[in-house]
Amino acid sequence: MDTLKQFLASDFFYSFRRTPVAVVSFCIAVILILSAVLAPVIAPYNPFDPATLNLMNGFSKPMEPNAFTGETFLLGTDDQGRDVFSTILYGMRVSLFVGFAAVLLALVLGVTLGLTAAMAGGRTDAIIMRIADIQLSFPAILIAMLIFGIAKGITPPDMRNQMAIWVLILSIGLSDWVQFARVVRGAAMVERQKEYVEAAQLIGRGPFTVAFKHILPNVVASVLVIATISLALAIIAEATLSFLGVGAPPTQPSLGTLIRIGQGFLFSGEWWILFFPATTLLLLALSVNLLGDWLRNTLNPNMD
């Protein structure tokens, strides 16, 4: 209770309350994430249970009764008669899961490597940061596709569809750690110069404890900012890969897969199959991004 009270009285919450953009994007993000998490409860249909599908329901327009069956679908149906609203909810689950897991992987990897580079210095630092530089000189999506291709090559064919999501997480996570490593390294090098670090060494703390117990808590703010912005980027990266057909399989479609499927129908008049998943992706990425921007301005006014 006390912590909650303290939080509500904090400058952080005050800044949040006074920034309409932050409040609105926070609400949108929370609604989207909650509805994805609660998809099995909210969704009127299970789009991946073939037993509930009726081909006769195919190409129903949004909010209009189907010509054959008379059923009405909130956001219409696709060619197979799947409810677009339900597929979006389930698709968002996949997108968000991949996004969060990939950011978590990138965060753990990037923070560890960044801290190590900052604390060890010298050759270790040079090697880690040159790898990061080399990776940065390729577009992240290319790196992700490369890792995706290699991983796909070494997984047995009958496992591919099950493994696809994990491979996706791995490839986005590995292509995104550089941001974390750079920011953490920079922030940790500033912290390392401060006298409390010297004091900790003086009372007998080892380098590992100094790095993780003293320095890490003081760079968390910048990590949080990068994590939020990375989440938006990871969701988009996942959608891009899936759109290109190298991401989530059609049996487990993410928002990107839905957009790929939908774009085939755009010019034949069934606009809703593309429009609603694309809008959802836009709202999701935009709200998370705006939230990240606000976080950056609030927590870290000196960052560019």
Binding site: Y14, A199, L202, G204, P217, N218
Partner: protein, 565 residues
């Protein structure tokens, strides 16, 4: 009627918690040719007054109440455009840091001529002639040549002279000088102050001189206004204020200035606005802190330094391209006796802080010996006892804002050394010892539960001392422990260090550039320059009869604030 008349001025900074009043009902006047000093400690509101007169209050600051008159013109209600025309022409400003108050991309000539042409209709030849004569007046040699140079071609003191020339450019009635010499070396400070005083007389300009330094005020100002927490507590002639202050705060402030001409045992009258509550009665013999401590006294050297050298190599690039070598410490030897205070004095870059870090093991020396209680500190510790002995050397740092981990509660910061070194039975016991230590350094009972940001600089320095004590040290290195603090807080911290030293039989290594402070604290002093010790000796001996020419220079240039009795 006075030329500049500030009536009942209240400056407010509204924020979400309410309205903070930076100054409260301040009344001041400045006459032509007069220097009014405003003195006070950080947060007293002294700079805010200058900014309000200039119409340069930082948003959301505003004038809540009061009036500012320059001759017949009321300044505080003047529209922005009209005020802009007055700035530079009627009121000019001299800033603290000449490194940042000149535009580095333009020559001195173009900066001066721009100001002159803006305010005086002289034409370009006339403006240039005036610029040259201004540089001449502020004592820049060879002004015809130097005027076409860029700011980086001038030294710090010369740059401040250029800033003064800029302030004088349009013949203003009032100049506001905000800490004009704080960023300068002591020797240059004296010259700049002389110049400012002479120019005010000569040009019949009124000046507000804002500073925290009693020495600067006593040498320069005609009248002094003393501010405390936004209030004007006392105003009067400089001589009267410095010799015979009336208000309790002024008395406390003056008694906190370390006298340069003698050694006093303790700073007296530091009670005004005191942050601690007096040393708690502590039965040291039965307390954790008193255990495991030997009470031997005597002249036995606790620390011996022999032929210490440190060369820093800057390497850069992936393959470690050849770097530059800096000889930071060169053949330094000295001994520190148990229970004494050994001082190292020197200007910045003289290697005094490097010596501290060579003793604590943060840096490894290139060659030499460091022996503490018979233990060679440079050898690998052979036993746990050796490690514990090594940790009996602790340090108090210069910057209280970076020496405490902002993410840890104060009691955890203080308890950490006890826990790391297993000096107590349990974590709970360590925390309870930490709370005792916080009381010992005169912080209140609730201090331990809070985070460092809830404390002022002086209180943080107390926390830093408590943390050092938690290693049960016998040897404390104080690296400029008070240079970031206000003078009254400095006096309290120095008193605390002296008290703790006496009660715990601590040996201190005191590092500072501030000679009057050294005189109060040290038994022995080593004077350093360019990494070498030029003179070592008894502290009073160094001050009364310095042998080396460098020491003589330092002593003659030190700011003099002498006390009569």
């Amino acid at each position: 009627m006075a030329m500049l008349d500030i009536k009942d001025l209240t400056i407010e900074y509204p924020d979400r918690h309410g309205v903070f009043q930076a100054t409260k009902n301040v009344n001041l006047t400045v006459n032509r040719g007069e220097i009014l000093g405003i003195v006070g400690e950080s947060g007293a509101g002294k700079s805010t007054i200058g900014n309000a007169v200039m119409g340069l209050l930082q948003s959301p600051g505003r004038i809540g109440q009061g009036e500012v008159y320059l001759d017949e013109t009321r300044l505080d209600t003047l529209p922005f455009e009209d005020m802009r025309k007055l700035r530079g022409k009627k009121i000019a400003m001299i800033f603290q840091d000449p490194m940042t108050s000149l535009n580095p991309l333009e020559t001195v000539e173009s900066q001066l001529v721009e100001t002159i042409e803006l305010h005086l209709k002289l034409g370009s030849a006339g403006a240039r002639a005036r610029a040259v004569s201004l540089l001449d007046q502020v004592g820049i040699p060879d002004p015809e040549q130097r005027i076409s140079q860029y700011p980086h071609e001038f030294s710090g003191g010369m740059r401040q002279r250029v800033v003064i020339a800029l302030a004088l450019a349009a013949e203003p009635d009032v100049i506001i000088a905000d800490e004009p010499t704080t960023a300068l070396d002591v020797s240059i400070q004296a010259q700049i102050l002389d110049l400012i005083r002479d120019l005010c007389r000569e040009k019949n300009v009124g000046m507000i001189l804002v500073t925290h330094d009693m020495g600067v005020i006593s040498q320069t100002a005609d009248r002094v206004a003393v501010m405390y927490r936004g209030k004007l507590v006392e105003i009067g002639d400089t001589k009267q204020i410095t010799q015979n202050p009336q208000h309790e705060y002024t008395k406390a402030l003056i008694s906190a200035v370390p006298p340069s001409n003698m050694r006093i045992d303790r700073f007296q009258h530091v009670g005004f606005g005191k942050e601690g509550g007096g040393l708690k009665e502590f039965d040291l013999n039965n307390h954790w802190l008193g255990q495991g401590r030997s009470d031997e006294k005597g002249d036995a050297a606790i620390l011996q330094i022999k032929d210490l050298n440190k060369v820093f190599k800057s390497t850069s690039g992936f393959l470690g391209s050849k770097g530059v070598e800096t000889h930071a410490v060169r053949d330094v030897s000295f001994e520190v006796s148990t229970g004494q205070t050994f001082g190292i004095v020197g200007e910045s870059g003289s290697g005094k802080s490097t010596i501290a870090r060579l003793i604590t093991g943060i840096h490894k020396p290139t060659s030499g010996q460091v022996v503490f209680e018979g233990l060679d500190l440079l050898a690998r510790p052979k036993s746990r006892q050796d490690l514990l002995t090594k940790r009996q050397i602790q340090m108090i740092f210069q910057d209280p804002y970076s020496s405490l981990n902002p993410r840890m509660r104060v009691e955890n910061i203080v308890a950490e050394p006890i826990i790391v070194n297993n000096l107590a039975g349990s974590r709970a016991e360590a925390i309870s010892i930490a709370r005792d230590l916080l009381q010992l350094v005169e912080l209140d009972d609730t201090a331990g539960r809070r985070f460092p940001h809830a404390f002022s600089g002086g209180q943080r320095q107390r926390i830093s001392i408590a943390r050092a004590l938690a290693s049960r040290p016998r040897f404390l290195i104080c690296d400029e422990p008070t240079s970031a603090l206000d003078v009254s807080i400095q006096a309290q911290i120095l008193n605390l260090l002296k008290d703790l030293q006496a009660r715990l039989n601590l040996t201190l290594l005191f590092i500072s550039h501030d000679l009057p402070v050294m005189r109060q604290m040290c038994d022995q002093i080593a004077v350093m320059r360019y990494g070498e010790i030029v003179e070592t000796g008894d502290a009073e001996g160094i001050f009364v009869a310095p042998q080396h020419s460098y020491t003589q220079d330092l002593i003659s240039l030190m700011p003099k604030f002498e006390r009569l009795g």
